[in-house]
């Protein structure tokens, strides 16, 4: 590698959209009985993928190969699993397991050595049971037969890996692999997210997909909230000014009395 490549490009911030999360489905009873571990009710897959879904694919995201900047993804499962640290060095970065309970999975992304960045670590709550309207999941879980019919449960979080002042070589590498832009229109259901309870209706509609509509929709949601807050504040300001006038009047009265 030439020396000029090891120069950081100042003032450049470049990000790559990813998603992480899991899908889970109920294991049919007959299969469960034949397996070694009868207590495991669900089969789940936890994964880190590119945000865009490939057309006609039956998984969420993963259209782009993200191995050009990722060296390894480690999933740290619950301690009760045999060798809970699963290191995945090649795409697809995912772990498929069976189990009966939800827990926090620690995900650690190690970048290629050329980029000179430290690994990042974050958590994902493994979601096995269907979403409920309030998104808490605290409600009673449906019996396995119902859950089986309802289809797989999806829990995905969109995020962006942000690189600041990347090395020239790394920047070249990244720009050589532009991510496929998110689809402009909504083609498939919206992935459910607790921050957007309105998307609950889509949870039963099949394999979700991330799209730009979701970004705009969220921007609008925040914008509306802000407008409401500001309208509220205007109202309170009027109240305040009225009250201040009253106070001034009272003070005058006090002085006169």
């Amino acid at each position: 590698m030439s020396n000029s490549d090891r120069v950081r490009v100042r003032g450049v911030t470049i990000h790559r959209p990813i998603i992480y999360g899991n899908t889970a489905e109920v294991i049919p009873l007959e299969e469960r009985q034949s397996s070694s571990n009868t207590a495991h009710t669900h089969r789940w897959t936890v994964a880190v993928r590119s945000a865009v879904s490939a057309p006609d694919s039956d998984i969420v995201g993963g259209a782009d190969d993200i191995s050009y900047f990722i060296k390894r993804v480690s999933f740290k499962l619950h301690d009760t699993y045999p060798n809970p640290n699963r290191n995945i060095d090649k795409p697809p970065y995912e772990v498929t397991e069976t189990g009966w309970g939800e827990f926090e999975i620690q995900i650690r992304i190690v970048f290629i050595s050329d980029c000179g960045e430290k690994p990042i670590t974050f958590y994902h709550h493994l979601k096995l049971h269907p979403w409920t309207v309030d998104g808490s999941g605290e409600a009673e879980n449906p019996p396995p037969e119902v859950a089986l019919k309802a289809g797989p449960v999806h829990s995905w979080q969109y995020d962006e890996i942000v690189f600041n002042d990347p090395f020239q070589s790394f920047l070249n590498l990244l720009t050589a692999h532009p991510p496929t832009p998110l689809p402009k229109a909504k083609r498939r259901p919206v992935p459910f997210h607790t921050a957007n309870p309105a998307s609950f209706a889509d949870t039963k509609a099949g394999i979700p997909e991330f799209s730009q509509v979701m970004i705009q929709e969220e921007a609008e949601r925040l914008e509306n909230a802000r407008k409401q807050v500001i309208a509220e504040q205007e109202k309170w300001r009027t109240v305040l000014i009225e009250k201040e006038n009253e106070l001034a009047r009272l003070k005058k009265e006090m002085a006169e009395a």
Binding site: R8, R10, G11, V12, T13, I14, H15, R16, P17, F111, C115, E117, K118, I120, F122, Y158, D159, E160, I161, V162, F163, N164, D165, T175, P178, P179, H193, T194, A195, N196, F210, M214, I215, E218, A219, R221, L222, A225, R226, K227, Q228, V229, I230, A231, E232, Q233, W236, R237, T238, V239, L240, I241, K243, E244, L247, L250, K251, E253, M254, A257
Partner: protein, 531 residues
């Protein structure tokens, strides 16, 4: 003669062909009358129309007849009116209707001609043009934080805003009526400057519902440069005050300058040519400024000066377009990116920012490591976080997670936090003022009741005494009521946020479960009551 003329007029008004003369030409007798240029029509227009368009000139001349009810023509005026009436009722199918103008504050009833088919209860169609100007108001807190000015007291500023509101931003009237007791004399520029600067500061510092550019635009519309205005007016005044001699001299000087300049240029040219023919070199001497623009910029175009002197833009609230442009969102330092590079950056998810050139060599420690966007979500100020989070929860907005944590959405969230913080702040102040009011009321009531007991008889003070006793009971009740109301609030908060427009007789609760100081405040005032 008159009868014949009016018959022809009727025909022309009703657009009927004249029986005797098929053309539009006017019968002879009226010719001398129409040949005179009627008022309210410019000479140029009149010469275009000519005397051969009787109906038009007759109509244009009509207001003049009305304005000068001449006894000799009275008969004719009456006939015109009758005709107009007949025309309206039978041809245009119009009616003389009374209407109320919602744009008026008084309930003055006026009448107008409208199509008979118009609904008499329909809103007056021109009412919408009565646009009330919004005059900003500010709280004491805002005044303390933003609007302090050594030349102005809060009272005088309040007075100014009241006068401005009363006279609907008509600053000449405002300046004329402005009479603040005990204040120093203010010119119209002083008033405008204070008013616009207050508005600007309020807009800049209040949370803004729209996007940034609309805010910049609004701030720019309140731009006012007092010094510039004063200079401008002085300049106009001096321009207008020139004597004819001075004007003549100035023109003469200008012509002289022009002539000298031309001579010089010619001389330079000749010298250059001469040098070229002799030595074949350029003179190398700096040529006289070859462009007139420089001269015009220096001396000013006398023609333009004259135009400016007409006082056409004396009253412009904004002192010139240049001011707006310079305040615009485009900053010259910003690198202009081509559309192509923008598309490239969008494709590769690149964000470029201007780097401050530093002497310090970049160190490893200074480097901001890679991160997940969601891990850098904006956070509300720690001191207000619980209240802000609560307020946002009522709006169904998660303050910890975003569905799509893109850069834009993160900054949206930040804007929301700012707005919420401002709201929480305002409420705090409201609570404080509320408490002060309560304390003052209690003290007033207490004083009045003492007065009532000692003096006894006076009806007025007796009345006050009753109020005071009520006040004591009220204060107790209020404190308890407050507690129950609070419980109410917690439940109804979310609902009232969604329909904040709904009028509530009590203090609208909405996000007010946020406030906590009220309870302690009432408790305090209750204690004082007991003492």
């Amino acid at each position: 003669m008159a009868g014949g003329a009016s018959a022809a007029d009727v025909r022309s008004i009703l657009a009927l062909p004249s029986p005797s003369t098929p053309g539009p030409s006017q019968p002879k007798p009226t010719a001398p009358k129409t040949a005179r240029k009627p008022e309210g029509i410019s000479r140029e227009l009149y010469s275009l129309i000519g005397p051969s368009a009787p109906s038009l000139t007759a109509q244009l001349a009509k207001p003049r007849l009305k304005q000068k009810p001449n006894l000799g023509r009275g008969n004719k005026v009456a006939k015109w009116r009758v005709l107009a009436f007949v025309w309206r009722v039978y041809v245009l199918k119009e009616e003389w209707q009374e209407f109320s103008n919602p744009g008026r504050a008084d309930s003055l009833k006026l009448c107008h001609w409208v199509k008979a088919t118009t609904d008499p209860t329909a809103e007056y169609q021109f009412a919408k043009y009565n646009v009330p100007s919004t005059v900003y108001t500010y709280s004491q807190d805002e005044y303390n934080r933003l609007l302090e000015d050594k030349d102005w007291t809060k009272e005088e500023t309040d007075y100014l805003f009241n006068v401005v509101r009363e006279y609907d931003l008509r600053f000449y009237v405002v300046a004329d009526r402005y009479d603040y007791p005990g204040g120093q004399p203010r010119t119209i520029e002083d008033l405008k400057d204070r008013y616009y600067s207050v508005c600007r500061r309020l807009i800049r510092n209040r949370p803004w519902a729209g996007d940034e550019s609309s805010k910049v635009q609004l701030v720019a519309s309140f731009f006012y440069d007092k010094d510039r205005e004063v200079t401008r007016k002085k300049y106009i005044a001096s321009l207008e005050n020139r004597t004819p001699d001075q004007i003549a001299e100035e023109e003469a000087l200008y012509v002289e300058v022009k002539r000298l300049e031309q001579n010089e240029r010619r001389f330079a040219k000749e010298r250059d040519e001469l040098l070229k023919t002799i030595a074949g070199v350029d003179s190398g001497l700096p040529g006289v400024a070859a462009d007139d623009e420089v001269q015009i910029a220096l001396f000013g175009d006398p023609k333009k000066k004259k135009k400016g002197g007409n006082g056409m833009d004396i009253d412009s609230p904004i002192s010139g377009p240049s001011g707006i442009i310079s305040l615009g969102p485009s900053t010259p330092t910003r690198r202009v990116q081509s559309a192509k590079s923008v598309a490239y950056d969008a494709l590769h998810c690149i964000l470029r920012s201007d780097v401050m050139p530093t002497n310090v060599p970049p160190t490893k420690a200074a480097h901001q490591p890679v991160y997940l966007r969601s891990s850098r979500l904006p956070m509300p100020k720690a001191s207000m976080a619980p209240k802000i989070n609560q307020a946002l929860a009522e709006l169904d907005v998660s303050h910890t997670r975003l569905v799509m944590p893109t850069r834009e959405n993160c900054s949206q969230l930040e804007g929301l936090f700012d707005a919420a913080a401002a709201l929480v702040d305002t409420k705090k102040v409201v609570d404080k003022v509320d408490q002060e009011i309560r304390v003052l009321k209690a003290r007033l009531a207490g004083r009045a009741s003492v007065g009532a007991r000692s003096e006894g008889a006076d009806a007025d003070s007796k009345n006050q005494g009753e109020q005071a006793e009520d006040g004591e009971r009220d204060a107790e009740g209020e404190a308890e009521g407050e507690a129950t109301e609070k419980a109410d609030r917690a439940v109804s908060v979310a609902a009232s946020v969604r329909s904040y427009s709904r009028k509530r007789s009590k203090r609208s609760a909405s996000v007010s479960s946020v406030d906590t100081s009220t309870t302690s405040a009432t408790r305090a005032s209750r204690k004082r009551q007991r003492n």
